[in-house]
């Protein structure tokens, strides 16, 4: 896994995501979820392309039950996009890279 995509947890969520100056894409995943693992390389490609302008983090829903519950997550993979501490969009499922990319661009 790329070092540039930070694995965060329930405790660090506020500091890393809500208090972030840059927009954040949060990847909610779990090790037993095939599509979550499959989409990993795509998230890495996006981080390489937009990492200077957008922060990319991951939350393992197995180890961190509080945050997914707070945002009503009942399916993974789910990507939630945050700007200025607010959730502005969420995308669920193994979607096309362009869909994630367009959403990232709309945050800039």
């Amino acid at each position: 896994m790329s070092e540039a995509i930070i694995e965060i947890n329930d405790d660090s969520f506020e500091m890393e995501v809500l208090n972030s100056e840059k927009p954040v894409m949060v990847d909610f995943w779990a090790p037993w979820c095939g599509p979550c693992r499959a989409i990993g390389p795509i998230v890495e490609e996006l981080e390489k392309a937009y990492g200077d302008k957008v922060k990319f983090v991951k939350v393992n829903v197995d180890d961190n039950p509080v945050t997914p519950s707070k945002y009503g997550i009942r399916a993974i993979p789910t990507m939630i996009f945050f700007k200025n501490g607010e959730s502005v969009k969420d995308i669920t499922g193994m979607v096309a890279k362009t869909k994630l990319e367009d959403t990232i661009k709309s945050l800039l």
Binding site: G72, A75, M94, K97
Partner: protein, 308 residues
Amino acid sequence: MSLTDYDLVIVGAGPAGLCAGIYAARAKMNVLILEKTAPGGQIIITDWIENYPGFPDGISGFDLGAKMLHQAKNLGVEIDTSEVLSMEISEERKLLHLKGRIISSKTVLIATGAYPRRLNIGEDKFIGKGVSFCATCDAPFFKGKKVVAVGGGDTAVQEAMYLTKFAEKVYLVHRRDELRAAKILRERAFKNDKIEFVWDSVVSGMSGFFNVENVRIKNVKTGKEKTIQADGCFIWIGIIPNTSFLGDFLELDKSGAIVTDSNMATSVPGIFAAGDVRATPLRQVATAVSDGAIAVMSAEHFIENTSA
């Protein structure tokens, strides 16, 4: 304008596309695979595959997809994460329009697979909030809860059994009084105490504040409706071929699948189809990889015959 000119561009990196990539690389063709999301195809979401030869104890869909991808990469197959927006056919070249660029190729293999059929009863608003097409992704969110599973084929029965590892109860709703699934799966399902079969029925609606809370079931023979308390509804009622990006220049059958001959040739010379996207009597990993291999042979012959 200078375009990169390939011998073969494969659209889709599921089993059909990856196998075709392997064969094309070994035939020393200049080949490119385009995949708009993650390679592996529909098997990525499957819990367990027991009928693909070579794996005596079975294998997870994700692992099988990963192995195929690994094999293709070992042979140097180029895979680009891009979406084909449209295609253009000329006498000598097939043009694929991507975002911001055009790719040219002598032959194209459409291996774009299929996507899950919807119930079309307004369930879209509950996707990710109770409605799901992937048990391996979402079953753990329904631990100790009651869920509905819709369908009667292999996928529905296999995945319903996977759900029982987490859910307290699974209502398997099927519109007929007999499952289509393979006998071995049927037997296992009937022995599973957590599965309650709801025959001759369809899901006619669902409701809930943010997430699914209740699912309405209608008996298609009597017309009677009843409401089941359920927190989830998993839908496995078939798949629809991914052909909408093609426009209308390829012959499709009534279900939208690409019509091909036994050499995987479509109605347009130089364009081939393989896997779930084409009209085929059986949609399995075993048939997809076979299609992919045959398509590459056909593409090679096409190039030889047209380059004189």
